[in-house]
Symmetry: C2
Subunit: 585 residues, 2 copies
């Protein structure tokens, strides 16, 4: 062992002890008679000091230290003259008697501290140095801790962590599968799992009863800011349960994590039907830390000659408190904001309830003061409030209003990162109509069971059928989701028919699981949490990248080691592959 | 919830309670007046019973039950007339009042019980049914438990579990890498990690201090009986430590697992130099549950005119107790055994110390009774013992004797599966000479550090240099291994030179890690345990396949879902790949 203690543990109780520390040189301050060295390791920072009593060769060695040198130093712990209350070792320092440079360092490309001078790209290229910064380390330690607390909790609840294969079968519907050529099986490929869905259902057929796994999953899709080609899930499945059993179990896990990790107690998670979430929040992942509900006024605003509204299937608005004083410029800017392609509205109507009691709108031509006051009353608006109204196709406009609602809340500081408001969104539609292909798709996956009371609608009005599917949402972020699975082969056959599969197609794509179901499948249901997202929320971060030790960029590249990269001709030949780049085609 | 209790928890204390159970029908016994149903779930088996008081429709339903049907049954717990002491619920039975078939089953292809009638292939094809057998489930539950105990232990020791990437850089030396074509980076590939070696060393450079991970690794090699293309490691690395620190930490883990999981206390693990292991046991992974040491007699047996021995660089033997009565046929069979290619000896010489006091050998022509008695004395052989002697090139013959030693111990029952004898094999050679390429190779990897006292030999006699490398061996099985790493760039440069790398080649293959080392690398060392093997040893099994939920066969195929498999032309085109099978070349 190169040390007797870490750089985070010494205090006044150790005064007079001879200790040996090892770590990185954070900073050297030469004050002439005395020199101070801040020595850093994972556990903290300890001040080393040389003065007139220090042997010359030690002073000489200290003179040649640079930032990020790795050293070992021996000395006596003594009380500091001027204490530093910001660090755990701030009461003491080490009067060093010997020093040894274990490893030199070139000048690092950015400073190794929380408020570093390195930009994103540089820090990603030198990720091993970025990971030295205490706040980055803390994110990773939080992640490790959350994984361990999760495992302990689920194990104590009788869940069995079971590893499922990473090299799995590639299936015809496997768009966005990463594939792995097999050398031993020429011309054939494995796929990397987008989730262990099939395997966890097989484990239920196998009688494992309660399964979980914290597991890497893979998706070869065009990456958005907050997606990674490999990501981690808390993946679970249970047998002989109904929807409420799953919700209660994973509400328990979430509550336990909030208590153990964040010291936060939360109320019973509300169960909100998807239709209510859309109507009141304009989102299937509502942020319920603040109200600012959507109000529909489709009927109310028609018949006054405003053509935009007259032709709109849906008109709705939100009431934003205390911003009636928004200037024309601010309102124009907000109008531009809702017109962005991500929001996709055609325009924005506003009503200002000025502090002087007057009321003004952008549609004064069509609505008189009485009309406007009526709307304000409907929405519970008061002096100083600003009402923002969008119109258009129902679901699209609700979504736009939902995004506007969150944007206004951000501006008003209504989304504090240290407040956690989880809820369950339930009763999702089972099917989604696709205009392009003129058929229904499963909103979750084809094994998601319809609500029993809606099964009768499967043939008559499939779009109205609700699923036994649920999402856990915290602070407007979808943390996880799952469903009760179909385990009845006749109901499954009906589902396939409605989804437009011929029996042969269903057999080709799902035959493997259907075969297993022929030997006694228990009722089962499951859920998966996005672990990266959960950790980043607990860390108060906006991106999952900051809670991944070695993340990839938006092109799926690891800029630190410059991968992916070409492979040798020998390797290609062994794999029976030829590369055919677009330009060569 | 479909049940009030599991099939493993009811006992006399529950008598009179109304309960609902759910599970699989293990067996139906119709005794006329009464019918007994054994209902099985993960937790056990509970007996359900119908008799003259049972409603007719329930009796009727019971008549149609088959093996592996999934049912839900309600009834009253009552004391059994004839108790079954072999199961936890054997004191009670459930007098059922209602029954519901949740899911029917076709007749399963083999019986779902520990002593099944299904062969290996059939059980692998229907792995989800094989996994219903209690002993197979127990293996997987043991695995989950060992993983959890390991995680808890290492976390408590300050290790941080950190996930490293699965999609990594393919390197030129990456023979046996599985590769993954990148759609977003045409013509480029990721590799799947054979181990997280580089990343864990980077985490040390990043100051993580103590890292661990239970992690999937991948190797595309021709599979032997006990290898899998994907396997699991307990992977660790520590900073500011020396070899003994690593050994003590992981001796602590191993001891903890043996205590917690097996209830076994073991002594301090011996540290055995590699050279001693080879001399005494003929193996770098000696089974020390029994002695039967190798004895060298190269000098002693020469000069008597036996040409085989005269020309042999090494002659050695083992003394096998109590088998002097082996017949000629048995000895011939043993001779054939040592001539098998896996052993590779040219022949076998034996000396029998018969129970009547006489002594006979297969080389009586060259050695008189006095010679033979001398050898017997040297080996501590006594009446009734059989001495077996092999000769040839030193290391090869030691290995052959080591294998013969284990074979004889197996025949004599000297390898009980419930006795655990761990040891550390240390001081491995740093380098291995390769005759074919006429150069040295790193025995572990090029970052393994030489023993400081041997560094002077690096240039003069590289083959003699010992490494700071170590293996944990239990009962003749290599459970794990690791090394102290080089963190000094000059020593590393020397190593590369001796391994025949030009600076440019070293840069191309390892530049990425070497770059990180330029910014202050701490002394560090690590280890990895083969988790599959560790679990199979704890389970008393010979194959790792039995402790993997969904294993692959010797061709790397999953016979359950018939993967790997072809992918579509669209997928190939998106990946810019053309398949070029051998027959088409």
């Amino acid at each position: 062992m190169y040390r007797t203690n870490t750089c985070g543990e010494l205090n006044l109780a150790h005064c007079g002890h001879e200790v040996t520390l090892a770590g990185w040189v954070q900073r050297v301050r030469d004050l002439g008679a005395m020199t101070f060295i801040d020595l850093r390791d994972r556990y903290g920072i300890t001040q080393l000091v040389t003065d007139e009593h220090t042997p010359e060769h030690v002073k000489e060695a200290v003179n040649h230290l640079g930032r990020e040198f790795v050293i070992q130093a021996k000395g006596i712990v003594r009380e500091r003259a001027s204490k530093n209350k910001n660090i755990s070792t701030g009461d003491i320092e080490i009067e060093i008697s010997s020093i040894r440079v274990l490893s030199k360092s070139e000048v690092p490309p950015f400073t190794i501290q929380n408020d570093t001078d390195g930009g994103d790209d540089l820090r990603m290229k030198y990720r091993y140095l970025d990971l030295r910064r205490p706040m980055v380390q803390q994110n990773l330690f939080l992640r490790a801790n959350m994984a361990h607390v999760t495992r302990t909790y689920l194990s104590e609840q009788g869940f069995i962590e079971t590893e499922t294969p990473v090299l799995i079968k590639s299936t015809p519907e496997g768009a966005r599968d990463f594939v792995v050529p097999s050398r031993m099986n020429p011309g054939e490929f494995y796929a990397l799992p987008q989730s262990p869905q099939i395997f966890k259902q097989l484990l239920m057929v196998a009688g494992f009863d309660k399964y979980f796994q914290i597991v890497k999953c893979f998706r070869d899709e065009d990456l958005r800011a907050d997606r990674q080609p490999e990501f981690t899930q808390i993946d679970c499945e249970m047998s002989f349960v109904e929807q409420e059993d799953v919700l209660n179990t994973f509400e328990g896990l979430t509550r336990h994590l909030l208590r153990e990790i964040k010291g936060v107690e939360v109320d019973v998670f509300p169960r909100m039907p998807w239709s209510v979430a859309m109507e009141k929040y304009g989102s299937d992942k509502p942020d319920i830390r603040f109200d600012m509900f959507l109000h529909e006024m489709t009927d109310r605003l028609k018949g006054k000659g405003f053509q935009v509204f007259e032709s709109a299937p849906y008109i709705g608005g939100i009431c934003v408190s205390g911003v009636a004083e928004y200037t024309r410029k601010q309102l124009d800017e907000l109008t531009e904001w809702v017109k962005r392609p991500q929001i996709g509205s055609k325009g924005l109507v506003y009503i200002k309830l000025n502090n002087d009691g007057s009321i003004r709108s952008s549609v004064d031509k069509f609505y008189n003061e009485e009309d406007l006051k009526g709307i304000a009353g409907l929405m519970g608006a008061k002096q100083g409030d600003l009402i923002l109204i969008l119109s258009g196709e129902r679901e699209h406009t609700q979504n736009a209003l939902g995004l506007l609602r969150v944007e206004m809340a951000n501006r008003l500081g209504l989304r504090p990162k240290d407040v956690f408001k989880p809820l369950w969104v339930v009763d999702f539609p089972l099917l989604e109509w696709n205009e392009e292909t003129q058929r229904y798709f499963a909103m979750h996956h084809p094994f998601t069971s319809p609500k029993p009371e809606d099964i009768a609608l499967l043939d008559s009005d499939p779009g109205k059928v609700r699923a036994n599917a649920y999402d856990l949402v915290i602070n407007g972020v979808e943390i996880g989701g799952g469903s009760v699975r179909i385990f009845d082969s006749q109901l499954q056959a009906t589902m396939f028919r409605i989804l437009g599969f011929t029996p042969a197609q269903a057999e080709a794509q799902f035959g493997f699981l259907m075969n297993a179901f022929r030997y006694g499948a228990p009722p089962h249901a499951g859920i998966a949490f996005g672990f990266d997202r959960l950790v980043s929320m607990f860390a108060g971060l906006d991106s999952i990248r900051d809670v991944i030790a070695f993340p990839k960029n938006n092109s799926g590249r690891d800029v630190m080691n410059d991968s992916p990269s070409p492979i040798s001709d020998d390797q290609l030949e062994e794999l029976n592959l030829i590369i055919n780049l677009p330009s060569e085609k």
